[in-house]
Symmetry: C2
Subunit: 367 residues, 2 copies
């Protein structure tokens, strides 16, 4: 009967990954080990400082959601940048399975595959709502999965910051000439766009922006928006805050999962991971939407920040340069072309309705 | 030993709601019944026709997500309007527990509590992104839960259609005078607004709009937007299609759960329901965003629909009337005042950032 009980215990434990309590002592060591395999303890590495507002909250909230929904059968321990690996090692670490999951942004991995940039942000491209439409109902996520499949990874949309601010500048921007020689931290496609109009793009992790700006080793930087920018104290190091964010209109972050780790999960835990990422994807945008303005007010009213609009002439020059840069990127890489063709077709299709719905409504509200 | 086994089986089954397989035959009938109680088979009644695009997909997708994530421990059977109860009986049906869940829109229940209207749509109020910000990071959902608690219900945001179209008209609207005597199907606060400018608001379920418009028993109707309006064939019954949708800038739907049914769920299934609603909330907006424009194109190119913008004079009159109507609603009902005060404070706070982020970006993109 003990044997029968042990077998029952194991079979239930295999289904449920819940141990058999006091009865476990009566199972064999091998059986117990097999039963224990069904609780999954994952590591999630991120490109953000641990618990960084907004960006760093998403993986923490994801971990909590997954633990709750699985009743502890799947736990996820979150590591901030440099805790387990440096920020820029997240992709490789998850690809080789040294961590089961990661949270970051696809454009950081443009050196691996240039197509990745289109999954984060395209200058003058889609805003958060449109980006989510493309990914989930326009074929975007499927293409993303195809591209990452070569790296043994499964991607999910991992939250959006909404439209970002154009950034912090120590020089007034009145004409395109003012961009010439401007040393600015700006990643992804947007960095190449700046270069094309005469600027000097620099890549730096968020944690180094303040010092770089303060010491004058850069003239300008973009980061996210008021909520995050305030945290880094960028207003203490720069004179002007510019809008609109032409370069990252709905910056989409990513969750990545190692494919072998994914395949080891039973179907119900796979579903839990899938829907948890989707819930967190929404949650991050909600948080930014609610908190950006309070931070903006503090920047203006408490810290005396000057908020300025980029002149149309400058925006037009950046827009033309963006089109040229994208044309070159996709000419060099077939996969990037396939992704951008899908993105562009969706963009051409969605914009006329955005114009008579979201845009026209906001105009009517502001009459 | 049988008794011990039965007890173990039951205790595990209670934790996991998975039956004890072949061993079940050896448990007593009473124990088996108790074990089976832990699989939950819920009914979800909706205010939409079964499988209606967008609106009706959300409850179906929710049901699938919950079944997958719970490995079948919680199943949800979806009933369209009139399958189990009529559309307008959803609230009462779930409140009394005759169905465990419902999907609809809070403003349908303004007769129960006038505060409910602010959780769906406020004329000239918040768009989808802002509405989600208010609900999830601005205290809105907490207030919604307070209001519905009196009815033995727990609400969750249940998807957004985005900005809706102003609707279908058989009469051109050039001045405020043209709204006088206009018989239009338009629910919620917006109906009262129409009345204040001289129109005659009518309440009709979606399924009756086409006939009412065709027979001339109404002069105009709003419904949702191109994707849904095309399904009902409203273009065959009306001459003009007007924008922008001033009346429902980010119509938020709702999932409602009977509180006793909720309390009967173990914590992990409660978490699964919570996060599944959040994922579906995002999913619906993605679908509308992706599909509205294709439908709009078909309406224009295939069916020759004339898309016209409401004159600013008309929009301004509607905006002034909206403010008056809302002031009266909240003067009559303390709970409505509490909810609207929160909504308005969030709105005042979020709009300046929307102006320099989303709005400014779309303008820059369209330069």
């Amino acid at each position: 009967m003990i044997k029968k009980l042990a077998a029952l215990c194991l079979s239930i434990a295999m289904l449920t990954a819940i141990g058999c309590g006091e009865e476990k002592a009566s199972t064999s060591q091998a059986d117990a080990e097999k039963a224990e395999v069904k609780t999954f303890n994952w590591r999630l590495v991120t490109t953000w400082p641990k618990n960084f507002p907004g960006l760093g909250s998403a993986p923490e909230n994801f971990a909590n959601a997954v633990t709750e929904m699985s009743a502890g059968r799947l736990t996820v321990k979150v590591y901030g940048a440099n805790e387990l690996v440096p920020a820029m090692a997240v992709f490789d670490t998850v690809a080789r399975g040294a961590a089961e999951m990661g949270h970051g942004a696809a454009y950081y991995w443009k050196g691996k595959t240039s197509a990745s940039q289109f999954f984060t942000a395209v200058p003058f491209g889609l805003n958060a709502q449109e980006m989510n439409g493309w990914l989930h109902y326009g074929g975007g996520l499927k293409l993303w999965q195809e591209i990452y499949s070569d790296f043994n990874l499964i991607p999910f949309a991992g939250g959006s910051t909404g439209v970002q601010m154009a950034g912090w500048f120590n020089k007034e921007i009145n004409t395109v000439e003012d961009l010439k020689g401007l040393k600015m931290r700006i990643p992804g496609l947007a960095g190449e766009v700046l270069q094309r109009v005469g600027g000097i793009p620099v890549t730096l992790p968020g944690g180094e922006l303040f010092t770089a700006l303060q010491t004058g080793s850069i003239d300008a930087t973009e980061w996210v928006g008021p909520y995050n920018d305030l945290t880094f104290g960028l207003h203490k190091a720069a004179k002007y805050y510019y809008y609109p964010g032409w370069h990252e209109p709905g910056a989409m972050l990513e969750f990545i999962v190692n494919k072998d780790a994914w395949n080891s999960l039973p179907k119900d835990l796979q579903a839990i991971v899938t829907h948890a990422t989707r819930a967190m994807n929404q949650d991050m945008l909600d948080e930014y939407t609610a908190r950006n303005n309070a931070a903006l007010k503090e920047l203006i009213e408490v810290h005396g920040v000057k908020v300025q609009k980029l002149p149309d002439e400058v925006l037009l020059a950046l827009k033309n340069a963006s089109e040229e840069v994208i044309a070159e990127v996709i000419a060099k890489d077939e996969k990037a072309k396939k992704v951008y063709d899908s993105f562009k077709a969706f963009s051409d299709d969605v914009r006329p309705y955005t114009a008579i719905s979201e845009k026209a409504f906001i105009e009517a509200r502001d009459l």
